[in-house]
């Protein structure tokens, strides 16, 4: 059953319309008889959420379309976020056992904090639901309003009903002797203030800065893009964050990618000497790095991967290495002496040098050819220690490497040596042939001085996140710094009515209108244009 929404001007309005789309006369009896200023929101157009008899779909829509609900959501998010700052969150605590950590460090409060899920406030599903609800509100609020507003503003007419004009917040009523002449002056005055004019007989509409009305909707779109971009992190390949630890001289794989990163050299630049604060300080640190791509033998630990260099860059804070969407950031470092490579020189019984044995301490080769001998590395203890008299390794870090070499001479004789270079110890374990054997001397060593901590990131959504933020800002700026102003003029015989409306800064509108009217010869001031004395009560 449709209510009769036909206006006396002849226009048929959709159900729910507050002000006639054509002439502005209030549709509902109540509004017509009231003496309050007209409800000008959304031009009095019918909004989807104002229908009667809402079904479940409508109820959900109306819920999210409400600004009151949106404000509640914002406030709730705000309060919850405050709770998330009371104690350090799980992603920064130096512990692998959160429940125990919070209980130990912060007592009963910490325990409660953890149980309530507050120790991971921002990663929790309920926080994300809050943000999603805000997203829903953004989308639905905007759609619900911008479409009717756009239609209404596009279709508006210059000639408005007298009641419409008289119930505006800014009003001037007077008389003019010569309508056309006065309208000429009025048009000139309006044009000089950059108003766009629409003329309909003795009715005139001056409008400016309509674009500022779209500001809020544009900024909502910006936020929606930003939130949507964050959601895309779930797409495989769009997001990754992991730490990589590289010692000097080392080349390590980046897990989950075909890339390897090499730390050629790490530099810590200390400006030693006086700073005005009297301190020695660390001025900069950087890693000279090479990025490789693995092209063959990539996952087989039994074989060395074949690497191809793709990029060189010195990674410093604020200057990451970037390649194909991957970014390597210099996060931290540690001074950490660690032998990486050593060269043992072999001498025979006559103290003649036979050759060199270069050994990679992290991934030693098993076969070597020195002189006319074949040497097999059959035993390796990275960090030699003694476990009940039996040699063993204390750790994976080559702090005290020990080797077992099986030597095969050209003549077929074999012998075995146990060599501990740092202890300058070697012993012949077994052998055929000459008793007097070889000696292994440490002649060269490469040591990593620093361990460099890099963060590898992939964030394909970044451009969209930034775009969303900038669109948001644009929308805020045009919405806040400009106002949409309209001035209606209607002359019936000698009777003049001038009314005006703006979405904000009424004071400025009144001032401007006063100046405009003064130009046309009508003396008035900003305060007397105030129809409802909202300012002066």
């Amino acid at each position: 059953m449709l209510n009769n929404t036909k206006c006396e001007c002849g226009h048929q309005n959709p159900v729910g319309t507050v002000l006639c789309e054509a002439c502005g006369l209030p549709v509902q009896q109540e509004m017509l008889e009231s003496d309050q200023p007209l409800e000008m929101r959304y031009e009095g157009a019918a909004r989807r959420s104002q229908k009667s008899n809402p079904n479940i779909l409508d109820r959900v829509w109306n819920f999210f379309s409400s600004v009151k609900v949106a404000v509640y959501l914002i406030i709730i998010t705000l309060i919850v976020s405050i709770f998330g700052t009371i104690l350090p969150q799980e992603n920064v605590i130096p512990s692998l056992d959160p429940p125990a950590y919070y209980a130990e460090q912060y007592g009963w409060f910490g325990e409660l904090y953890h149980k309530l899920g507050l120790s991971d406030t921002f990663g929790s599903w309920w926080y994300k639901i809050l943000v999603l609800m805000i997203a829903a509100s953004l989308i639905i609020c905007s759609l619900d309003r911008v479409i009717p507003l756009y239609k209404a503003l596009s279709r508006q007419q210059a000639k408005k009903h007298e009641t419409f004009l008289r119930r505006q917040k800014v009003l001037y009523e007077g008389s003019v002797s010569n309508a056309d002449e006065w309208l000429e002056r009025m048009e000139q005055a309006l044009r000089s203030r950059h108003y766009r004019l629409t003329r309909d007989g003795h009715a005139l509409l001056g409008e400016k800065h309509r674009f500022s009305r779209w500001g809020p909707y544009i900024n909502h779109v910006g936020l929606i893009i930003l939130l949507g971009a964050l959601l895309t992190r779930g797409i495989p390949g769009w997001y990754m964050a992991q730490n990589v630890v590289v010692n000097e001289g080392e080349t390590v794989p980046v897990p989950g990618t075909p890339y390897y990163i090499q730390n050629i050299q790490f530099t810590e630049i200390k400006e030693i000497g006086p700073h005005v604060s009297g301190q020695q300080f660390q001025f900069a640190f950087e890693t000279e790095a090479v990025l490789y791509r693995c092209v063959d033998n990539c996952n087989n630990p039994l074989q060395k991967p074949v690497l191809e260099e793709v990029k060189r860059h010195t990674i410093k804070p604020n200057e990451p290495l970037e390649y194909e969407g991957y970014s390597f950031y210099q996060i931290d470092y540690n001074f950490n002496l660690r032998p990486m490579h050593m060269t043992l020189t072999l001498q025979n019984a006559n103290e003649e040098t036979i050759g060199d044995l270069p050994i990679d301490l992290n991934n030693p080769e098993t076969s070597y050819a020195v002189g006319d001998m074949r040497i097999e590395l059959t035993g390796y203890y990275a960090d030699l220690t003694s476990e009940n008299g039996v040699p063993a390794s204390k750790s994976r870090v080559p702090n005290n490497p020990a080797f077992i070499f099986d030597v095969t001479h050209a003549d077929g004789t074999t012998e075995s040596y146990f060599v501990v270079p740092f202890e300058q110890f070697q012993t012949r374990l077994k052998g055929t042939g000459d008793v007097a054997g070889l000696s292994f001397e440490l002649t060269d060593m490469e040591v990593s001085r620093y361990t460099s901590y890099l963060l590898v990131r992939v964030e394909k959504a970044l451009t969209f996140i930034l775009a969303g933020a900038l669109i948001f800002l644009f929308g805020v700026v045009i919405g806040v710094y400009w106002q949409h102003r309209r001035i209606w003029v209607r002359i019936d015989g000698e009777r003049l009515i001038v009314a005006a409306h703006t979405n904000k800064n009424w004071f400025g509108l009144r001032q401007e209108l006063a100046k405009i009217l003064t130009k046309t010869g009508v003396e008035t001031d900003a305060n007397s244009l105030d129809n409802y004395g909202v300012t002066k009560q």
Binding site: L96, L231, N299, N300, P301, A392, S393, S395
Partner: protein
Amino acid sequence: MVMARKKWVQVSILIVLIAATAYTIGTNLSAGSAMPKVGDKAPNFQLYDMDGNLHELKDYLGKPVVVNFWGSFCPPCVRELPLIQEKYEDYMESELVVLGVNIGESMVAIQHFLSDKHVTFPILLDKDIVRRQYGVKDYPTTFFIDAAGTIKQIIVGEMSVGGHPSLDLDIAIRRLLYG
């Protein structure tokens, strides 16, 4: 009809939002903590053994699996190795699979270490990838995974028999096999 079109817009927007919600909650709940816990599905992995054969955890579905993280530089790992071998042999008929995952040592070191030890179950070589996946920080750590691929028990520390029940290898295996 104009009304129907508007309704379609409403419905599709709400569907998109519900989908986004479900997706968000889903990823949140499944993106587990660093260490898979008892009751979680054991993360799948692919590792090569000492002979160059590729082992994938998924291939062992249908059989109970024991995954032991160890290193030759870790005395308790070394001490429990013979015990693990013994139990492996004892329960071979029950199709118990034992995988020893070595944490980042060089082939030479492992080969030399194992050369005088009797170990017949596969030794897999990991370069810090599976270790991270399983959140292993202390060694040895042993995961007991049932035929359906669910982690039934995790023991951190040197296992024994007849000692502390929570470190008892025999009890753990029997629980894995017989529930």
